[in-house]
Symmetry: C2
């Protein structure tokens, strides 16, 4: 028979079992953490009617979307989790209670040009809080806490949540009578990290047509840095000149004020006036999260406050606040940077049991008992040499191997080898279980992400 | 602005938050249970090259598949998890250790005619054990244990794992010189439950061209029922006439022999000679699982032993054994049958905190403390009336509501209401936490599935 050469499409992540275990651990932390803050899991279809997904229309989205016919239906794969959420909330409005807090971890699809570290199928891990008509600023103040809890639970230490408020930016541009040009200006300011302040100033004058004075004001404004108190105090200097600005400053002060009560350490948070995010979507607090030792990666968790989630589907005003982690890309980058803790077990089992007798019943009964106590046990009953079986455990990183021969069965004991230390014990099944459980707790104790 | 009417495609399950929580619970049990038996999680792409997915080609599959072009690529959505597994094992053979045990819970796509309870996007939850060249019968003996553990952990009691062996069937047809016609015969026998033995006998003669004697032999054979011992003993009567039959009988005896050690109670298991499963795929033990009170649902977990997983991709002989749960359909049916325990909490949070003071810091600090102790806490700081906030908790089924006013803060206590009993306590934060944790343990104790 002629064979089809097996292959996986480029731009599609397909992990080997070890890395997949690391990915599963991260997902489990996300699910648990999001749940702690009262977010309920949702799972919407990956396929939607194309006209529903593209209700907003236009732009990059339409070019990248996977769209196809099936029968008479014009279908498309979701390209993010926000549009399906908007559809969900508009469609099920009557069955939901607001504020509505949901998380969703799911695959989305974008037919981007394939390149290293870019994926066409990738997980997003989103949370959103949707209000009906109104939504308290406290929700925006809580989001840094969720970001902090998520990344610190993953083990990460050196990261910073950077926060700004779009009303402050909009109010500031209003003061300079530059509201109409604020989009161009923000796109230019966004290049600050890459090209420096001087070149930004030049571009503001050349490309955006600003006066030297206006450009100077902007550079002075985005140069405001320091502790949260210092930045807020500098911003107070602009107060009273724009209602929008003053409202934004109030909001930002509320966000900063409650950080401590929300458990966010000062060193993991910074007010950063250069952050703008999506130009026409976000309207209040905006968030970015950067790894301090890897600024080149960019933001690993971003989002903000928006005023109108579902405007393409309903007349209802549904403001919200949310963040998104590009999980597949984050996982890829963490792997590249050697930041995934290699010491955590990634084996499919905690114990490999090698029966050494014709009658397998005692070995099977032992496996059953271990499983009933939460230990992941695999029986190895294949016709292989003893050495091959040990090497199997070794290759997979299975931490314990149990041998069960006539002598052990007769003596009511179990021979158990710790594959890492090489130490071998002969103990009762109960004592062996206790030893394995203690050992596993130790081996599983480390952080998932290093750094 | 004109609005797009939001809709979800027919044949695509989209659950409200409460049912989604029930679904998540089931998925969590599957992940945990499969892991206990040494299966490692995999997550392959939902999109593959069409020629890879269709390497086997032909039949219903090709008609139902979602296939589309993107750029120059001929793509398709996976229609099961077995073909992607075959591709995965063939592609990554050098990086895997055998026996290779993996589980995968993922969405698959089939463009079936939409009808009630039929889904075009649905979850399958599969486990497979793949050997390299050979695979011990003990793996086939272990599978009923995994099925039993899965469903009993979900809370189900009245189910039966029905097992047969294809070699017994093939050997039996060989004895009757009916090997060539065995496909037609098995398809006819498969109607036994629906049309009864007499009509099956008539069809065997009319449609399959069997003699009255041959038809009688078959009816006599499939009428063998009783305890496992009785069935095995009746089968012994056929021994010695076909090598394949004898081998199948040996395998079946091994499967039955170790049930006890694997922890499978006799009442949840039956040898059933009428079970055949996939006609050209399975080669050894085959499994079906039926709900005793709902036989009309058909099998909720099926599978078997096969000899050649990846024959379309590789010359290597990769035998395996596996089972699959059609999770979306199962969930739908359980809902229809009112078998999902309505008493388990499905709220997004365990506690709703209502701050009654201007300064929110004490309420936020309390929420932070609860979360650090694993309690899912939501702050409700919206500008709503007290009554509306209570009704919010009530509608969502949030089991506890905490009020935190000046008096409580000054007194170092927390007012906490159990929404079910109506009982309200004023205790220290630590005692409130303990009360909530004890209450949650109680509320979460019941089975997920009833029956």
């Amino acid at each position: 028979m002629s064979k089809m050469t097996p292959r996986t499409l480029s731009g599609f992540m397909e992990l080997l079992p070890g890395p997949q275990q690391q990915m599963e651990r991260i997902m489990e932390v996300l699910r648990t953490t999001y749940s702690l803050y009262g977010f309920t899991p949702l799972d919407t279809p990956a396929i939607e009617a194309a006209e529903v997904l593209l209700a907003k229309g236009g732009g990059e989205t339409e070019k990248q979307i996977y769209r196809f016919q099936k029968g008479d239906s014009d279908l498309a794969l979701r390209f993010d989790l926000t549009v399906p959420l908007a559809k969900y909330v508009a469609l099920h409005y009557a069955d939901l209670s607001f504020p509505f807090r949901r998380y969703q971890i799911g695959k989305v699809y974008r037919g981007e040009r394939a390149q290293r570290g870019r994926f066409r199928e990738f997980y997003q891990a989103d949370i959103d809080i949707i209000g009906d008509g109104k939504l308290s600023i406290i929700n925006e103040a809580e989001i840094p806490a969720i970001i902090y809890k998520t990344f610190s639970t993953l083990g990460l230490k050196r990261f910073q949540i950077r926060v700004n408020n779009r009303k402050i930016l909009n109010g500031f541009y209003e003061m300079l009578s530059l509201t109409e040009r604020s989009g161009d200006i923000m796109r230019t300011v966004d290049k600050l990290d890459k090209i420096g302040a001087e070149k930004v100033g030049a571009l503001l004058q050349e490309d955006c047509g600003l006066t030297a004075e206006q450009s100077g004001e902007i550079l002075k404004f985005i140069a405001i840095t320091g502790s949260n108190e210092e930045v807020l105090s500098a911003l107070e200097g602009y107060a009273g000149r724009s209602e929008v600005f003053d409202q934004g400053l109030d909001e930002l002060k509320t966000v900063v004020q409650y950080l401590g009560a929300f458990g966010v350490p000062a060193e993991n948070f910074a007010v950063d006036l250069t952050i703008a995010r999506g130009l026409d979507y976000y309207t209040g607090t905006v968030y970015e999260t950067t790894l301090l030792d890897h600024p080149e990666i960019g933001s690993v968790c971003s989002g903000g406050r928006y005023d109108n989630l579902a405007e393409y589907y309903t007349d209802r005003q549904l403001p919200g606040a949310g963040i998104s982690i590009g999980l597949t890309r984050l996982f890829y980058v963490l792997g590249e940077q050697k930041m995934l803790n290699p010491d955590l077990p990634t084996a499919p089992a905690d114990v490999l049991i090698l029966p050494m007798t014709e009658d397998l019943a005692p070995a099977i009964a032992l496996a059953t008992e271990l499983r009933e106590n939460g230990v992941r046990a695999q029986l190895h009953c294949e016709q292989k040499k003893f050495k091959q079986k040990i090497s199997y455990a070794d290759k997979l990183g299975i931490p314990y191997v149990i041998f069960l021969g006539e002598d052990e069965i007769a003596g009511g004991v179990v021979a158990c080898k710790d594959m890492q230390s090489g130490e071998q014990t002969k103990l009762s099944p109960a004592d062996t279980l206790a030893r394995i459980q203690a050992g596993l707790a130790e081996k599983n104790r480390g952080p998932i992400i290093l750094g």
